[in-house]
Assembly symmetry: C2
Homo-oligomer: 357 residues x 2
Amino acid sequence: MWQVDESNLEAIAIGAGILGTGGGGNPYIGQLRAKQAIKEHGPVTVLSPEELPENSQVICVGGIGAPTVGIEKVRDIQSYHALRAIEEYTGKKATALISNEIGGSNSVEPMIPAAMTGLPVVDADGMGRAFPEYHLKTFFVYGVPWCPMALCDEKGNTVIIPEAISAQWVERIARSVTVQMGCVACYALAPMTAQQVKTTAVLGTLSLAYNVGQAVLDARERQEDAIGAILAACPGKVLFTGKVVDLDRRTAAGFARGSVTIDGLGSNAGSRMVLEFQNENLIARHDSEITCTVPDLICVVDTDRGEPITTELMRYGFRVTVLGFPAPQLWTSDKALAVAGPRAFGYDVDFSPLVLS
Amino acid sequence: MWQVDESNLEAIAIGAGILGTGGGGNPYIGQLRAKQAIKEHGPVTVLSPEELPENSQVICVGGIGAPTVGIEKVRDIQSYHALRAIEEYTGKKATALISNEIGGSNSVEPMIPAAMTGLPVVDADGMGRAFPEYHLKTFFVYGVPWCPMALCDEKGNTVIIPEAISAQWVERIARSVTVQMGCVACYALAPMTAQQVKTTAVLGTLSLAYNVGQAVLDARERQEDAIGAILAACPGKVLFTGKVVDLDRRTAAGFARGSVTIDGLGSNAGSRMVLEFQNENLIARHDSEITCTVPDLICVVDTDRGEPITTELMRYGFRVTVLGFPAPQLWTSDKALAVAGPRAFGYDVDFSPLVLS
């Protein structure tokens, strides 16, 4: 058990920004919103999954929409409204909250209703990274029902999906509603049991985000190598180092889609990396060779400061380092890869796990 | 109290096709579906609003989508599922059903769940015509809440909108979900009381549809003038007679939108009428002059047989008569015109009620 307060939110936001593989919503804005809620209502208790009582009702809350829109149209307390809407619909009160994804602002989205209600959050999430679509959660791959869910906007509109033939259909319906809601909304799932969390969530990810972020902050303080500090906190490798020379990004169908081209610097001089993204980075091509794919994590950070660079903030001229981290093990089974492997995103390539040298 | 059975469905479908002002879903397909349900489950009892018990729970069911899609993708029993979904959500069982609009297939949509469940239908509806959008109901203009509502597709997906800031927002959200559902879905509203039906519905419209349709059938049988028979059954006037010479129709944003151009024949020779439609006919221009607008009814029938011609079946070369009927009185108040007058559809013109000579 530990606490999230104003002092450690920055580290969590940086770590979640890195683990977010470019998406999950802007981590800085998420941090400011969570900080405000904690300032008003007090700190949030974090429970490890083992600390969850048997009879827990764990509600997952998260944001849905296009990160490019989310930086201008900042979320309010829609996740609180979504929490209340699903509690009312199911007739079950939450005893704890859990993040849908550890990436970007979604990592701290539950802090806002948690601070408001005094509920603890669980040190775990449904992705162990960020993913662009609702159905891409380990929860659903391993048997948690994808319905009912509640979706709220900032205006006062609520939608409940009590029944859908697949998690993909929930995504499809919820995405189209989100577009109407202005491309920024929040949702809440029906309560999970402690057992479901333990067997279907990616565990310990809030601590991991904190550790990665704190390593970056420490390295900056000591004027040490931020990239090395990240890799020491979370095993992974440098995929590429260079300068952003081209960016193609559009807000389409409720997503930020596109690609970024990076020309090599240092040991990568003379070669090029192209990352393709849909909110999150999905594929890394080093010259003509694919060197990393979903569900492995492809993370772009500022080479000097280790600051995560999300897809909506990517810009020409940035000096960046592309990091690769192995996917959480729950994503590497055949049934998980069928949902979130490269072929699920339309790439005609098999998943080849990142090898750490 | 009377009964809808296989013998009088054709008349209802023809009458509702005419009152549907071009929309409401294909009346012939609606008739076939209702006939099938009645054949399987038995006839449906029609109650006049005065016959409704005090403690009634009247649930409105209807179809939503683009008529152009609806003729290829025929509805199944989604309205039954929507009825059950809203009953379950509200915890209230229906004691009677009511049509959302008397136009087209929507006039008989309640017959399907009514036949399946043995519930009666009320001789009334929420428009007294057809309209393209969810919020355009006299129910809502006169105080019936627009939420909660349930929306179902044929695949097994259900969406509930428990709360929305306006009826227009329900339309906006429901329409986007309908597009995902394949442009054809059915919905059900939370139960209304008998008092709400009596004060906010357009009354006696199922009887009116039957009377108009039967008049057409009788005229055909006797080889009499079908147009005259229609006008004798429902006071209105001939706006134009001619031949369809141009048609611009597209399925856009979940609607059938466009215009039809009719060159005059007989006493209208040398002049031209253009009708603009969004599922339903909204504006009639006789040469440069607007001669009829929503909420008055602009109805196109085959000149010889009096058969209604809906916007999705309109074709070049058809010999047609354009009829105008005064809007039900509930639509002529200022607050109703603000919702469904010509300006609400983007036309810079005031409503000028049709004058019957």
